[in-house]
Amino acid sequence: MSDKKKDKGVLEEVTTGEYKYGFVMDIESDQAVRGLTEETVRFISKKKNEPEWLLEFRLKAFRHWLTLEEPDWALLHHPPINYQDIIYYSAPKPKKELESLDEVDPELLDTFNKLGISLEEQKRLSGVAVDAVIDSVSVKTTFQDTLAKHDIIFCSITDAVQNYPDLVKKYLGTVVPYTDNYFAALNSAVFSDGSFCYIPKGVRCPIELSTYFRINAANTGQFERTLLIADEGGYVSYLEGCTAPMRDENQLHAAIVEIVTHDDAEIKYSTVQNWYPGSKEGKGGIYNFVTKRGLCKGRNSKISWTQVETGSAITWKYPSCILMGDNSVGEFYSVAVTNNYQQADTGTKMIHIGKNTKSTIISKGISAGKSNNSYRGLVRVTQKADNARNYSQCDSLLLGDQCGAHTFPYIKTGNDTAIVEHEATTSKISDDQLFYCQQRGIDMEKAIGLIVNGYAKQVLNKLPMEFAVEAQKLLAITLEGSVG
């Protein structure tokens, strides 16, 4: 009895609990004026002391953006976004260079602690280098020494522009050109900061690289730009995790992630996204429009995307792989959870161009409350992609009779040696499984948690250890309580 009560208590807390990470930090911001004009673009570029070519790139992107219309093909409904009512740049006031954590603003450290990310702890225990991005500007980068030993470059993109302009110039916009889509053009024009990583030839990065993003100042859109390059034989596992403070007004996030792998190189990109999903009444929340794409440029190269999406009011995200090199491999593992009034339209694109290319898509959608969760994916086998192989599986789980689960795969095959398979199922948790668990003495709530975790296991297993733990917690928080 008391157990049951306790469970109910947990349940109550979970369902009625407010967003755990909803708080606003009081860090002074240095903001660009509201609205987007050529002046804004020039302001950002000047603020960041950028070379002429980058300003040109931004301006070209901005001019192109003006000619575009916001896409409306996704199964998403939101009030129109007023792009002129957004502050496009906000950076904490520049402070003197810091040598150790002790010098970091205690308020900032406190924030990290609230987030459950203790930099010291992470440094000591997990060996993860954290490049923490607070409102667009990289504040503190750790583990630089270890990385320097292997000649690995891991810094903010702003620093990279200053210190490694040739590398940035060579790769920026090659995977996601500014003409790619509406949000890519917007990002290219106004991107504020993000991470840059370069793995030199033959280097296996000994630690997992990680960036924690946070959106802080009110009404500030975040326009991250991440660029990862693995040269011949390089390997890196990159982690990205996000939390955001509670806001009533919707915040726009339009990021770009570009990945390039050369011959025999491999990049593993893992994301846990837990931005503010809006209140239970569907008010507020982050609008997340992200363009993520990897280019397997070299032979035998590999790019693997793993994502756990639990946050954001709107998720519009299709991490993709262009399998250009022969024998290259693309993978996409995704768990997307929506609750209350969240909407997610997410999936992947696998473009087979090289010979003997392989791709795997495992997508698990879970919808609860009044949310809508869509998988949208493309598998394209071009005419020259002999022996291409794709396997896709996208399952949807419905918890509650007010939510929606949708699957929109597109399969385009233009080669007779290709083997493409797609499977999808949609159902609710089977009564048999629930009954079995319950007759063994596992209560309903726990049984559902168990089944959902088992359902998502295939994807969660792909996450690095630290993330897997966090992801399981997130799943539990987002779900256990939406059913009953």
């Binding site: 419905l398 509650g400 009779d401 929606g404 929109f408 040696t417 083997i419 999808a424």
Partner: protein
Amino acid sequence: MEKVKKRYPLEEKFIRHFTGHSDEISRHDLPKVSRMRREAMKDFQRSGFPHNKMERWRNTDLEGIYETDLEIFDREIPYEKQLSEIFLCEVHGFETRVLSVLNGSFYSPETEKLTVDENGVIVGSLARAMQEYPEFIERHYGEIMEQRDGFKSLNMALATDGVFIYVPDNVVVDETFQIINILNKPSLVINVRNLVILGKNAKLRLLHCDDSVNHHAGFINKVNEVFLDENAELELYKLQNLNDETALLNQTSIHQSANSRLKIDAISLNGGMIRNEIFDLMNGSGAWSDIRGLYLMDQEQHVDNQVNIYHNVPHCDSNQLFKGILDNEATAVFNGYIYVKRDAQQTNAFQRNANILLAKTARVDTMPHLEIYADDVQCSHGASVGQLDNEALFYMMQRGIPFADARMLLMYAFADAVIDEISIESLRINIEDMVKRRLRGDLSICDRCVLHCSNPDQPVIFDIDMSKI
């Protein structure tokens, strides 16, 4: 930014035709129908032809047809000679009641334009039914028009004739009805409409053939409306064997009442451009449908199957199976869509599309989509593109079956899942023959009815010496 859409001369031609001939087009109309025509024309003037920027038309490019100079034909053809002189259709081993539509209008002697059988079944010309049985038109004509696009509007505005079938309550029709749709004049574009109504507990088998009798280009824009009342059962077999120059747009909308059963087998053997759109609206609890399709395409042919199932109420079952074999530069599109409305609980909906590519230049685009708003459902879809099983080939070859035969056998086995469902045995045998011939390349362009191609006295068999196995 307002995008200016290009106007095709053919679009202009349709619009001019409508304004110039509106009296003639509307001569038999009920007020409801003429009102619908005017509205549809307005819609068409606004939308124009569908184009490949539209999601549903992305993979089917009709630009070539829009650019062709086609003649709009909507005249009634006087009955001068028997249909068999224009078009020969001998279906061996089974009798059908033939209803023919020649160049867009019902073709029969005057006395047989619209007949009422002893059991109350009304069959004949739609134009005639509009005058004699307005109550059916009032109730059903143009009532289910899901996903209206330019072609549907055009058809609504311009179609004047087609086949009308009414089966009253509790009548089980023994004979098989066969609609034969033919073009025999060069460069025609026709808008034709069929209306099929089945009363409570009624049962009908319908064979629906589209054939070419020559090698002229043509464009058929056809809309079929089917109403199944409670517990009604319809078996619909569509056979499409057209020349490579003809484009066929076949839109079938079905309204299913409670416990009604629908079975569709759509077999596309040949045709320059074939697009089958099926809209199955499950509006009554306990409705059931099984929709299958087979397409065998080669050269530069294009086939597009759009199957949309709307589960609007609880306790309905649907199943889709579409299979295709593509050779040369042929292209195929499959767009399966299952929609489960909120509270349509206890739905079972399955969908499967399998394709075999035989040439490097053949292409398949498959989009098996699900949109589900109810939780107590079981829905699944699967799609695959691949080749013949090499191990099976090897096994057969090591048993002494020549490569070509082994390959044929596998392809035939692949197609069989669709053909096997045909419940009229003689029809199944005929279609089996045709598929075999088609796969062997003996049936590339058939000048006559597809069913006529097969000769039951000389069944097509594989040259396999069974003793070797």
